[in-house]
Symmetry: C2
Subunit: 344 residues, 2 copies
DNA sequence: GTTGGCACTCAGTCGTGACGAGTGCCAGAC
DNA sequence: GTCTGGCACTCGTCACGACTGAGTGCCAAC
């Protein structure tokens, strides 16, 4: 089948171009890969591939370079998974096992990913949306100043300061604490917000137990903390030094990327929806949501305990990258991080 | 005095070079600055300046470029403070006033600094060493699992999970909580650690109140949290996209800098000791501790409430930078941040 | 101490020509 | 119908050389 051979040619072009960073010509192709046909034949195949939009020439009399569409086909149908070596697996495991808390897991994951792939790594902190409330603690700092501490099942701790509209006795505080915990503990964030608002009414006044809006202040602060952090989840970035390898095309490619790396909202949109079950999402060049990042690709996947996609992690790099290797690295790291979250 | 004129020439060279990014020659110099003498005279002065090591030629028949030593003299004796415009002052104030908590202050400062100076900004989170303990909270998550929450006067909250060697009753927990707070609350970190170890002995056993090492576990965790975070203070970095303006000298300058930006220990060493009272430290090129960063300068100063230097903030950029403008921006931001910490 | 003049240096630029990698096309072989 | 060898053509890259001009250093004169 010539069709098969054409795809083999495309695969060879992608692999060579990724390795050498230079447009690849017909002669070099038959030499380096045992295609078993002459350069002339390959040239014909290349002409067809170019017609179909999979490859392109930077200029006449130069070799071919894959287009975004070419990379897409390569990733979807031509690439063979490159399994991690057992040494790599062990390295990942031992690197991540040393983590002491959630923040440390994220920090280490970022570093690990960027080293494995030699790209810029991005790891989203586990979102709160699916996590549950483990405990709410109320600490009186002053008669009318309360510190609200929210502890989640993922190990995340959020704190807020509340200025109370009235003073609160030690007893009333204890009572409020227990009421809030009864309503929220064990619930998923969204439910906890609802139950808090419904099930923790103002304590009935008047008298020494009058509430004066204290309860409402506390509940709204809690709800705020929960909803706030659900939307603007944090991300960690690492390996920006790998951008130095971009070489050419500096202002056009690296600058917008550096800017994006500091805008967490942009980054999250780049990473996209979390996918689960070992599925790795690949966004190639202009497929992404940002025009200025049309020469960068994103390889990402979701992670979380028991296949719940709590958050996303992945890498950002030039469209010309080693997709099979990168994809398996991303998948492997996601798997190990998920396992650790499972145990924690 | 020819001496005065020579210094004027040096100043003009620095200013021109910073503005144009190109070696500056004698003719252009007399044209752009009203020096009142002929190019030939300037040439003589330049020859002397070169002999003394303040300027250098990239190659024969090119203009002059300041050396590190030249920048140093410029910063020390020739630069006039460039006061912030009142519009800028207002912008700084309003930008920082919107901050809701300590983390937000730091985040906003980084962004502000990088925008004002168009350089990479670095802000160290307030160190704990001088801050005091405001409250310690102990939360039982499970019979033998305790969450230790440490609240500091700066508003920072640290939490640690402790696995207890034995179960703890609700009463024993309350008692331990009160003992710990009595010892630590209000104390400076260093004192708190000492007092905790001395003044919170094991509760005497045997009996139902036996301690079984629970107290020690909690105290050591607390001490650990305090000491830990005193040494590896965190830093926030922003404005890395400004590195794109480096233009040439990429691998030699930008790469090591990008690497340094991810190593917080390195960054802290770069920023150096905090200085107080409006004094801004300038480290030019090879004056810094890292050989690879010999073409980058650091402009930094300390900040903190009531002129206590709790932490350092500043910028990192090419040796060829607008020192007067940068220095006054750094000073202004430090001043406003300090004021905010004072109020909080 | 300052200035004008002058010879010299040398990085950058531009044009030229040779080179070669790579292509498209076509006629012929399998 | 498919593959192959051959051939003319394109065009980017490199090396060479000449030219230009900014900038210098030095010297004699003011």
């Amino acid at each position: 089948m010539q069709e098969d051979r054409r795809l083999a040619v495309l695969r060879a072009i992608v692999e060579d171009y990724v390795a050498t960073e230079e447009p690849v010509g017909s002669k070099a192709l038959v030499e380096r890969h045992g295609l078993g046909v002459s350069p002339a034949t390959v040239r014909n195949d290349m002409a067809v591939l170019e017609d179909e939009g999979y490859i392109t020439q930077p200029h006449t009399s130069a070799g071919r370079v894959p287009t975004d569409k070419g990379y897409r086909l390569f990733v979807d149908r031509l690439s063979t998974v490159k399994p991690m070596s057992s040494a790599e697996k062990r390295a990942i495991a031992s690197f991540l096992d040393g983590a002491v808390d959630l923040d440390d897991v994220v920090t280490r994951s970022v570093r690990l990913l960027s080293q494995l792939t030699r790209q810029v790594a991005v790891v989203q902190y586990p979102t709160l949306s699916r996590s549950t409330v483990r405990h709410v603690e109320l600490v009186a700092l002053a008669p009318t100043k309360l510190l609200v501490v929210l502890i989640l099942s993922t190990g995340r701790v959020e704190q807020r300061l509340v200025e109370l509209p009235a003073e609160l006795t030690e007893d009333a505080l204890a009572e409020l604490r227990s009421r809030v915990n009864q309503a929220a503990t064990g619930e998923v964030i969204a439910d906890a917000v609802r139950r808090l608002r419904e099930a923790v009414p103002e304590a009935p006044g008047p008298g020494p137990d009058r509430d004066d809006g204290v309860t409402r202040a506390v509940v709204e602060t809690l709800a705020d903390a929960m909803e706030d952090h659900r939307s603007d989840a944090r991300v960690a970035v690492g390996g920006a030094a790998n951008l130095a390898r971009y070489g050419d095309s500096f202002d056009s490619a690296v600058r917008p990327l550096l800017e994006a790396l500091e805008e967490h909202v942009v980054l999250l949109r780049l990473l996209g929806e979390a996918t689960v079950g070992g599925t790795v999402t690949v966004r190639i060049g202009a497929e992404g949501p940002y025009e200025q990042l049309s020469s960068t690709s994103v390889v990402a996947t979701g992670y979380g305990p028991r296949d719940e996609a709590l958050a996303t992690l992945g890498i950002v790099g030039p469209t010309r990258m080693d997709y099979p290797g990168t994809m398996s690295a991303v998948r492997a790291v996601a798997r190990y991080v998920s396992r650790i979250l499972d145990e924690g």
